[in-house]
Amino acid sequence: RKLAIPVIRNSSPELQSFKARIGAVSCLARRNYHTDIPEPDFEAYRSNSSKQANVSRDKFDAKRKVYSYTLVGGASAATVYMGKEIVQDLVGYLDINDAARALAITEIKLNDVPVGKSLLTTWKGMPLFVRHRTEAEIKAEQAVDLLSLRDPQHDSDRSLTPEWMILVGVCTHLGCIPLQDQGSFAGGMYCPCHGSHYDSSGRIRKGPAPLNLTVAPHKIKGEYLIVG
């Protein structure tokens, strides 16, 4: 059953009366080729949801358009992912590469250092002091009054755990390497060059050095200490 679709053609009575009314010039009355071709019938291509004549087509947008939008959305998500990966990789080139990072890391097995003993090793070319402190040393350091220190720092700010003190073994005075387990303070360090005494937390107590020993950035992973 075909629907009656009105088709306005150049030879139709409606158009001719309209032209007569507006006084159209004779060129408009010329028959053009396209009036011989019947308008094609697209009925077979219309979707079912748009064939209801009395209902607005907006109500049936979803069924017709959701397929296209899903494809576009999926492709866009994949493209967003690609763009993110590219930007991430390009920005990642600014970071140090894995080989250089490996050279800047020192690993120490914590079981190698018993309580009350110190270890001397290197990190990034600098001497590294690793001390496994005793309970007495920890208590003594935590009880120190900060006002009496030249470079006031609390002991708990200088290490992740109170037992492990990881310090860079370079005297802050003029750069000599202090001696561990020496000096006036139990578990502390003594620099033989100019006589600086550090306590077991690496803080300067006596002597010419202005600052505390630097704490090396470290983390403890299982039974390994990773410095750097």
Binding site: K63, V66, G73, S76, A77, V80, K84, K109, K221
Partner: protein, 65 residues
């Protein structure tokens, strides 16, 4: 269909909601895409990766633990 209408009207019609859905979809897509690609590559290169061979060469190091 109800679901199609809800999804179209709620998400696809407005560009703002569509963009949010695409960004969320990209995040989800990334997770699953990375996982699937890793699994396929592992299966394609079975026996050649360090993870497959590490038991043959035990090394005492922090990365191993």
């Amino acid at each position: 269909m109800g679901l199609v209408d809800v999804v179209y009207r709620g998400v696809f019609r407005r560009s703002s909601t569509f963009a949010v859905a695409i960004l969320g979809g990209a995040i989800v897509f990334e997770t699953y895409f990375n996982e699937i690609c890793d699994k396929w590559l592992a299966q394609h290169n079975a026996g050649k990766r360090y993870a497959d061979m590490r038991k043959l060469y035990p090394i005492e190091s922090a990365e191993e633990s």
